[in-house]
């Protein structure tokens, strides 16, 4: 046996509530993050990701309270992203009980942060979050996927595959690869993008954006070559439970952890 493929649930948190948007526009509040976290833990999710999508100074403490409550309530690892742009803010969430921090736009603006974080807390703590947008391939962006930041609003002119490769050499221990064109659309992951990145780096790759049914996750970790697949809407709204998703993946021959 070897490392199992992971199913990860992403919870966007706004003002202490789980929220979900579509293509970064229009959010609906869903409920208490701790209740969601415990439910997914009991269903056998392998990991959780919490994104502070407001990331304003005054709401930061409220978010850290959520992180602490989650840490006391679940039995699995989780990472935290959003609003983390310094060693101090990384330390805050790690001390609150998170296993990993996810750096997205701040890593693009200040790539040295990846190295500093890896040296201070270990590479396994540092997840590079990347929002990828499909574009016409050019000499600058040969993969045809451009890094976008600030929730997808700002293009950077950088190639996703090149950026992830650089981030790996700078110390990132994992990459969460979010295809913003398919995020929230639930029509399957961007498999070409996932495969290109998985082939380019040796750190684990989490496919994100587009999960709508269990076969999509199977595709992400087989055709896409990902180590994990991230879901949100397909479980938040009750269409699937984690055990249902994993049972179907297992039936498709994917090695997953089965708790029931």
């Amino acid at each position: 046996m070897a490392v199992l493929k992971r199913v990860i649930v992403c919870l966007d948190v706004r003002r202490g509530q789980v929220t979900k948007g579509i293509k970064f526009q229009g959010n609906v509040d869903l409920g208490d993050p701790v209740e969601y976290a415990v439910r997914y833990d009991e269903q056998g999710v392998d990991e959780l990701v919490f994104y502070d999508i407001t990331a304003s100074a005054e709401e930061r403490n409220l978010f850290l309270d959520v992180v602490e409550s989650v840490a006391a309530s679940i039995r699995i690892p989780f990472s935290v992203g959003g609003g983390i742009d310094s060693l101090d803010s990384m330390r805050d969430v790690l001390l609150a009980g998170a296993e990993k921090v996810s750096l997205n736009s701040p890593a693009v603006r200040n790539p040295a942060l990846l190295t500093e974080g890896a040296e201070a807390f270990g590479a396994q703590c540092v997840v590079l979050g990347v929002d990828a947008k499909k574009v016409e391939p050019t000499s600058e962006i040969p993969s045809g996927y451009e890094v976008v930041i600030q929730g997808g609003r700002t293009p950077t002119g950088r190639d996703v595959v090149q950026w992830v490769t650089e981030a790996e050499s700078r110390g990132a221990g994992e990459v969460c690869l979010n295809a913003i064109d398919t995020d929230g659309v639930r029509d399957g992951y961007e498999l070409d993008l996932t495969r290109m990145v998985a082939d380019a780096v040796r750190i684990p790759v989490i496919a994100s954006g587009g999960g709508g049914e269990p076969s999509h996750l199977t595709d992400a970790v087989t055709t896409g070559g990902a180590d994990a697949a991230l879901v949100a809407s397909m479980v938040h709204y009750g269409d699937y439970t984690i055990d249902q998703i994993k049972a179907e993946m297992a039936a498709d021959g994917v090695p997953v952890r089965l708790t029931s």
Partner: protein, 209 residues
């Protein structure tokens, strides 16, 4: 049984809080401490760990925790090393250019050198763990359909053949996930983050095994 003090050794390691949460959830009184008297008085001692070996070892020595651990082991107190806490129990680690460790267990800590690009380092995620028959830590896992545990590490323990290996997993090659020497046990995986399987392991340890 419940309410007994569990000393969780404090040396700025990353997962101390998570271990304390898990211990408290099982109904025990968790004390995160580097105080030798508190450690002496504890019914159980947990030596957790996430971090780089050299830094961890430096703080362990500054706080005299190597001495406290040896004392606890000699006194017969059940002691549980987790992740880096397991690695530091051995004699030497290859990490950070080579670090002399506590040496309660004969053996060395080596880096995963894996040629297959599909095998990632750090070894991170859930991996099925095979426990030795009759191993008390796995008492409640006998017949369990799935015994996958959560791992995050780039180095693994290579115990001397004299050390009893109580659990193994595979990452490129089989490696020792767990070892036992009388009242001293250690696991490379994180029971505090391994869902119901991990809670069962911790519960077995605190139950007196």
């Amino acid at each position: 049984m419940n309410g007994m003090a569990v000393a969780i050794l404090d040396y700025n390691a990353g997962n101390v809080t998570s271990v304390a949460h898990a211990v408290r959830r099982l109904g025990f009184d968790a004390k995160i401490t580097a105080d030798h008297d508190t450690i002496r008085a504890a019914e159980h001692v947990i030596f957790p760990g996430v971090g780089a070996a050299a830094t961890c070892m430096r703080v362990v020595k500054e706080r005299g925790l190597d001495v406290a651990l040896r004392e606890a082991v000699d006194a017969g107190t059940p002691v549980f090393g987790i992740c880096v806490g397991m690695q530091l129990l051995f004699e030497h680690s290859e990490e950070d250019g080579g670090v002399d460790c506590i040496g309660l267990l004969p053996g060395r800590v080596r880096k995963f050198e894996l040629d297959d690009p599909a095998l990632k380092v750090p070894h991170m995620g859930w991996n099925p763990v095979l426990f030795a028959k009759g191993e008390p830590l796995a008492n409640d896992l006998v017949g369990a359909a799935d015994t996958a545990c959560y791992f995050v590490h780039s180095y693994y323990c290579d115990p001397d053949p004299s050390v009893e290996v109580i659990a193994t997993a595979d990452h490129g090659h089989p490696f020792a996930v767990g070892v036992r020497k009388d009242n001293l046990v250690a696991l490379q995986c994180h029971p505090e983050k391994s869902g119901p399987v991990g809670m069962s392991i911790l519960s077995s340890f605190l139950g007196g095994n």
